[in-house]
Symmetry: C2
Subunit: 342 residues, 2 copies
DNA sequence: CTGTTAGCGCGTTCAC
DNA sequence: GTGAACGCGCTAACAG
């Protein structure tokens, strides 16, 4: 058997088209790719043959011959997080304008398969965009050492051979802390995201930094979904916190739900603030105070960095996109300012 | 220049590995694929060389030689719709168990690019899963006529050369109508989804059928997002409806938000029912009466159908997965049963 | 302008 | 067991 082609998949090749049109394969190629000028009448015959036979170029063969796939790969932890679609749309748009398509894969929050998936992507894409990578630094070093275009999104690792574009999570959390401090909050709890998440550690770093302003912080392990937030919320009471910060909006919303069930009024008894500003227009039960990144810009800039990388330009410093504070209805001054009553 | 390879991308090939290990390329291939027995000591040397050189097989070359890509492609209208991640996870899982990876693309609800994307996918995947296609029947016929494995998900078109797996939207809407009728509702409004959506027309078909049970229906153009629902909700008042049905949960939630702003109490003054049972655990402001599909099963079954199709088996009849009614807090008997008072 | 030739990197027969 | 030769489908350099 010459090939593992199953069934009677009578695949039509470029030479079939050539034969049908009475020209050589190269001429067909030229017509289809506009690579060179071709006699109009021949071109017409080629086009006819193409439609007659239903010919479609084989992507693998093209990729092999050109040394390019015309594709960029994007790896995200979790497609269920509303954060990514916005990013992806921007990425797609940039990619398309460069004549590339994008293929998306998700790790399902499982760091153990992330490495393999990146390698897969590298083997079949011109460049890869790695979003919110949960990989260990060492693995990342190995991966970025291969000279294959790769850019990190929402993960900054110093001294890496790959460009990075990220929201400024540290700055975002600082904004939140500042807001809470100005409202008079002193004791803050934090529902922590995935431990392996750099974005999470950046938030925590900011929380630590905020201590200098007289804020004390209790960190509670939680997760990244509304369900996690719902489950973890009960433990906030024990911390004595008057304000609750969270890994993201989903967690915050889940927490608020639970808090209400427990009879805790938000924001009167407890202020809650989200993170990311996920667009849940007219859907969420609470108008959350939160911080936002321009997700479109994030995706766009990352994609463009990747494009320029593929074009051979070596980009430099990591880019931080600053976040913006949105004060809404889930934060208020603490009910009793213990510092004052004492 | 022999190739469009940019920069000094010193790509390492299988022969490089062979040279380094002092064997032929074929031996390397055999070792890596376990295709035939190889002397253990040689195999060891090969493995060493592979890691030393950081060799990774070129996916295009493999695909070309094997006549297989090891990939299935999935096309969805909109990644932002929480409906799809669940489906995708199931699909990925099935694909992975068959040694295939999945690449996802989205049309962004733009039917005009859908056709091209499917063709792209067909050119670079062993099979494609087309979700909620918005394409016209004629285009679909053309596409499925090519003998390339393709299965439709959530779109049934009679007489098509491709298998299909879909939620039973008609049945789902009938369940809703039955529920509303039993509560005493007679006048129902429907916030319609995208016009080009088959899923939408199935819902409408059910609504029409429900007329036989004495239900009158007003159809209002709307859309598929919460924003659409929010915008369209104001027009419901003018219809005299006591119950509002919707294209999906997102629309319903958006509508409820608007209705509340307008001072319409749900469900006391107006019952609202969703569709899909999107998991917005602890996030949504309203506990919506809705219908659900087992999205995991949907994805799983579609993926398995695709696999068997790729294996050469020709699957038969379209499969309808039945939906389930979830009565929650957004429906109630109509405030005034006009039939009675009259 | 067009046909012919030579790879792209890999899997796989075929001889040894 | 192993290497050499061939072909997968296509593009690009080379002649004409």
């Amino acid at each position: 058997m010459r090939n593992a082609r199953q069934g009677r998949q009578t695949r039509v090749t470029i030479s079939d088209v050539g034969a049908a049109a009475g020209v050589s394969a190269s001429t067909v190629s030229r017509v289809l790719n506009g690579t060179a000028k071709v006699d109009p009448s021949l071109a017409a015959r080629v086009h006819d043959a193409v439609t007659q036979l239903g010919y479609r170029p084989n992507a693998a063969a093209q990729g092999l011959a050109r040394g390019e796939w015309g594709t960029i790969g994007v790896l995200v932890p979790n497609l269920a997080n509303p954060y990514f679609p916005d990013v992806l749309k921007a990425v797609s748009s940039v990619a398309r304008s460069h004549g590339r398509r994008v293929m998306v894969m998700e790790t399902d929050e499982d760091p153990s398969i992330e490495h393999d998936l990146v390698e897969d992507l590298m083997r079949s894409c011109d460049g890869v965009l790695l979003c919110s990578s949960r990989m260990e630094r060492a693995d990342l070093v190995v991966l970025t050492a291969r000279d294959h275009p790769l850019v990190l999104l929402d993960r900054i690792v110093p001294g890496l051979a790959a460009p990075a574009v990220s929201a400024d999570f540290f700055g975002g959390m600082m904004l939140i802390c500042g807001h809470l401090a100005q409202l008079g909050h002193r004791r803050v709890a934090y529902l922590s995201g995935p431990e392996v998440s750099w974005a999470n550690s950046e938030r925590i770093r900011a929380l630590e930094a905020a201590k200098a302003f007289g804020i004390s912080v209790t960190i509670l392990p939680c997760g990244s979904t509304s369900r996690h937030g719902y489950k973890a919320a009960a433990e906030v009471a024990g911390t004595g916190a008057t304000a609750l910060t969270t890994y993201n909006d989903l967690v915050a919303l889940g927490a608020v739900t639970r808090l209400r069930e427990l009879g805790v009024r938000v924001p009167e008894e407890l202020s809650v603030v989200g993170f990311d500003d996920i667009a849940l227009d007219h859907v969420a039960h609470t108008s959350l105070t939160t911080v936002s990144v321009p997700r479109g810009q994030l995706g766009r800039q990352a994609a463009e960095t990747l494009e320029s990388l593929m074009a051979g330009k070596h980009d430099g410093e990591p880019v931080y996109l600053s976040m913006e504070l949105h004060v809404r209805d889930s934060t208020a001054p603490p009910r009793v300012t213990r510092e004052v009553t004492r």
